[in-house]
Amino acid sequence: MSTLAMIFIGAALVHNLVLTQFLGADSFFGVSGQVKASVVMGAAVMFLLTVVSAVASLFQDLLLTPLNLGFLRTFVFVLVTVILAWVVRKFLQECVPEANQALRLCYPYLLGNTAVLGVALTNAQSGYDFGQCVFSGFSAGLGYAVVLFLFACIRAQIREDDVPETLRGAPVVLLAAALMSIAFMGFANLS
């Protein structure tokens, strides 16, 4: 039980995907411009991370390790990630019109998401068993979704502020993320 708690705190807070490892940074900055899209994206990535962690762990344990094919890991994991992301996208497009509307322009961020592939690769190197992989994928996804939503709210606020000319656009957004990242450094003592 305490191992699971440590995995949860570690993956969701201490090693937060976006703010300490910059996994999924592209999607984080790209999608957080709109609160609605960020909620859908957060949920989609959370789901995807859990499933990809499971599938990737199965591939690793049943195929790559027994057959000594470690050098094919990147190739196999990329395929798993992109195919599953494509399935999630298709599902959102066909079955959830509201989510599709919000995420219409953000699908590239879902298909080419560094967070999903990154977690699969990190899990494979960490030596977790199947259950721990799935749980750590879920925890990391939860951390990503929460931070994405909070940051989208901050950006909605920034848009109404009178920002100095030089800092408008990307710099002020990056500064806000830097402050958030400093705040998350405080969690480092938990592990």
Binding site: F22, A25, F29, T74, T114, L121, G169, P171, A178, I182
Partner: protein, 206 residues
């Protein structure tokens, strides 16, 4: 020539297009890491652009994205093995961010509509721009964060935060703000929503 200039200055992937944020922020703790990541990305980008533009007549439009992913996955796997064999310390420093090159927004752009030569040149320009940005970012963070530059002692009182993750965001914000002030790229940098960037839109990815 214009294509090279565009890739390095006017459409610098990191500083203007804001693509490839993940490696740009994560590996730039030292100048050498930034340079290594940049060079590896440049080589993969040139090769993938070349291969895909040579194949463009044989791949139907809906097969472009899968073709690109497969090509990149193969090239990056090779790059990983080569780097593990040749420069192990850099390989260890880049860690998981080397295989993550496959899903770098910069490499997922479609360039196969161009002639093979043009496409490779476009890759070279963008790659050099990416390398330049990562090296500058890495050098500044190394200098301020650990007081060294390319490993040589330069500063006696480093400011630790620049070697940490928040330092990457601060430094990039600062660089882009300076460029904004100098109006270097003649373009406001920011994540527009919905995306104005044609290759970030849905059509190219189907």
């Amino acid at each position: 020539m214009t294509r090279l200039y565009n890739g390095i200055v006017k459409e610098n992937p990191v500083l203007v297009l804001l693509l490839g944020m993940c490696p740009a922020l994560a590996v730039t703790t030292t100048a050498v890491n930034g340079l290594g990541m940049g060079i590896a990305t440049t080589i993969v980008l040139i090769l993938s652009n070349l291969i895909l533009s040579l194949l463009r007549d044989y791949v139907p439009a809906e097969g472009r994205f899968p073709a690109r992913i497969l090509t990149l996955a193969a090239l990056v796997s090779v790059a990983e093995l080569v780097m593990e064999a040749c420069c192990t310390s850099l390989y260890d420093a880049l860690g998981v961010y080397l295989p993550l090159m496959v899903v770098n927004g910069l490499l997922l752009r479609d360039a196969e509509t161009l002639e093979p030569g043009e496409s490779a040149l476009d890759g070279l320009g963008k790659g050099l721009g990416f390398t330049l940005a990562l090296t500058v970012l890495g050098a500044l963070r190394e200098l301020l964060g650990s007081g060294t530059i390319f490993g040589a002692q330069a500063l006696s009182n480093p400011i630790g935060i620049f070697a940490q993750p928040p330092g990457a965001l601060l430094m990039l914000a600062f660089l882009i703000a300076v460029l904004n002030a100098a109006d270097f790229g003649h373009k406001r940098r920011g994540w527009a929503f919905p995306s104005e960037n044609p290759d970030e839109q849905e059509e190219g990815k189907q």
